[in-house]
């Protein structure tokens, strides 16, 4: 069964995935699609790969390496997740 999720719903779920990787939780309050994971949320760059793995598990999807490399902002994360969920943007 395919999950039907709009961008807002994915963003809310994404916050939970990102939570453990963000020291200052307040930074999560005001995120939007342009928020950058490293520059704005101060995620350790080494942990981007872990976020991708956690997202794969959360949404039961496979994210290929090229797609994973695009996941630098909240918006691009949602793009990739939506694409992999087989949902049109």
């Amino acid at each position: 069964m395919e999950m039907i999720m709009d961008r807002h719903a994915i963003l809310e779920e994404l916050k939970k995935v990102l939570g453990p990787y963000i020291k200052n939780k307040e930074l999560l309050q005001n995120i939007n699609e342009t928020t950058n994971l490293i520059a704005d949320l101060r995620v350790n760059s080494a942990n981007l790969v872990d976020i991708v793995i956690d997202a794969e598990a959360k949404y039961n999807i496979e994210i290929d390496v090229d797609s994973a490399e695009k996941m630098t902002t909240i918006g691009s994360c949602i793009d990739v997740i939506q694409e992999k969920l087989g949902q049109p943007s």
């Binding site: 453990p20 020291k23 350790n44 790969v49 872990d50 793995i53 390496v65």
Partner: protein
């Protein structure tokens, strides 16, 4: 340059019989065992079915490390080491948080092997063509400097950052190196200690050597019997110990509580010659090491009140006592008190030296000798050389001004430390 005096200002311990200094002090006074029967070891056809593992709640790490660090942390040895080091740091009255690097403080922390449980996961994933699922954290947790790196990061340490490894002499060697850096003026404060996690596979490798205790599998608390007539091998165990060492003046300036002084120590090898081998120490090397520790620390052998031995409950116990007797030139009723913590907790391998040094320091601070457990009948050859009364089987109040603590490791590596009451 004149040597600076070095004192112990903080202790942390994650031992099979207790976690934290107050509980550990109580445990070693009572002779409390930390050894348990492990059904899985029997299923795996091991000869020894007993080990000591700290009563450690993994989730408790959340109290001392941020979620970002905790999430994805799996290495048990790192967890033990972090807990011991952070506890020691706080025990020393030092603030946990810092924005700036602590340039004046370094660390020497030891361990033996990469976490084989984590490596097993790597092998499974790789073989299943799932390397992509491993994530970013395996390398930092399986590198031998992993535990040191985690402690360094948590405390903001920015002096010398050293990971050492010398098998069962690892812990005492870490303390010695920390002492040397401070006494020679190269650091003001050092976090020292070591960790060990004996998982199923590492345990199996020791079991294969047929040097482990196997006659007390049904009575695990009796399985480790140092200096006993019925000693039949050691019990590999897990844990971590940490000591905060400081330049005495630095400690006094900040009004720190001082547990004891590290007077000095020595580490050497018997060169795997003259009876020494990969697995057994050359007696001459041991004697030289003890004598060198006395010389460096300007300690007369007649002033040693307690020998905190390595004493693993193997065939090595008798030669060890002979070596002490020769090195100190003391025997019979003139021999110092002698004890081995391993009767209670087994042999914590690379963590043995640090956990046992915490015990040694506590016996100075609280003026007692902890009991030798499982010593209903001492080895008759041992009590021919030293008086049985010097091997107490009950906790004994005593004047303990000076302790000689030694550990001997595979590779024929010896380390001897001299701890003394601070005056």
């Amino acid at each position: 340059m004149k040597k600076r005096r070095v004192v112990v200002t903080g202790l942390g311990v994650v031992a099979p019989n207790a976690i934290g200094v107050p509980d550990f002090l109580e445990a070693i006074r009572m002779g409390k065992s930390g050894l348990k029967y492990v059904p899985d070891f029997e299923r795996l056809k091991y000869l020894c079915h007993v080990t000591g593992r700290p009563p450690f709640e993994w989730e408790s790490l959340r109290e001392i490390i941020p979620e970002v660090t905790f999430h994805g942390l799996r290495g048990m040895g790192i967890g033990f080491g972090l807990r011991a080091a952070v506890d020691a740091w706080q025990d020393a009255g030092l603030p946990l948080e810092t924005e700036t690097p602590r340039w004046d403080t370094g660390i020497v922390f030891g361990n033996s092997t990469a976490d084989s449980a984590l490596m097993q996961n790597v092998m499974r994933r790789v073989d299943a063509l799932e390397v992509k699922k491993l994530g970013s954290r395996v390398v930092e947790e399986t590198m031998n400097s992993g535990v040191t790196a985690y402690i360094t990061g948590r405390l903001g340490l920015a002096g010398k950052i050293v990971t050492n490894s010398a098998a069962c002499a690892t812990g005492s060697q870490a303390i010695l190196m920390g002492y040397e850096y401070i006494s020679s003026g190269l650091a003001d404060r050092m976090v020292t200690g070591s960790t060990e996690f004996v998982d199923t596979y590492i345990f199996g490798a020791f079991d294969a050597m047929r040097v482990l205790s196997r006659r007390f599998n049904q009575e695990p608390e009796k399985a480790s019997r140092p200096m006993s007539r019925t000693a039949g091998g050691f019990v590999p165990s897990s844990g971590a110990g940490a000591l905060i060492l400081e330049d005495m003046d630095t400690a006094l300036q900040r009004g720190a509580r001082i547990y004891a002084e590290v007077k000095g120590g020595a580490t050497n090898s018997g060169g795997q010659r003259g009876g020494g081998s990969m697995t057994a120490p050359n007696a001459e090397g041991v004697v030289r090491c003890i004598r060198e520790a006395l010389r460096i620390s300007e300690t007369g052998p007649e002033t040693i009140d307690l020998v905190a031995g390595h004493l693993t409950a193997t065939l090595g116990d008798l030669p060890e006592i002979q070596n002490w007797s020769l090195a100190l030139d003391r025997k019979d009723a003139d021999f110092p008190w002698v004890n081995s913590l391993k009767g209670m907790i087994g042999h914590c391998l690379s963590a043995a030296g640090s956990i046992e040094s915490v015990a040694a320091v506590l016996q100075i601070a609280h003026q007692f000798v902890h009991p030798n457990v499982n010593l209903e009948e001492p080895n008759p050859e041992i009590v021919k050389r030293i008086d049985a009364s010097r091997i107490p089987t009950a906790s004994t109040p005593a004047v303990i001004n000076t302790v000689a603590k030694a550990n001997f490791g595979f590779g024929d590596v010896n380390t001897c430390l001299i701890f003394a009451k601070w005056k």
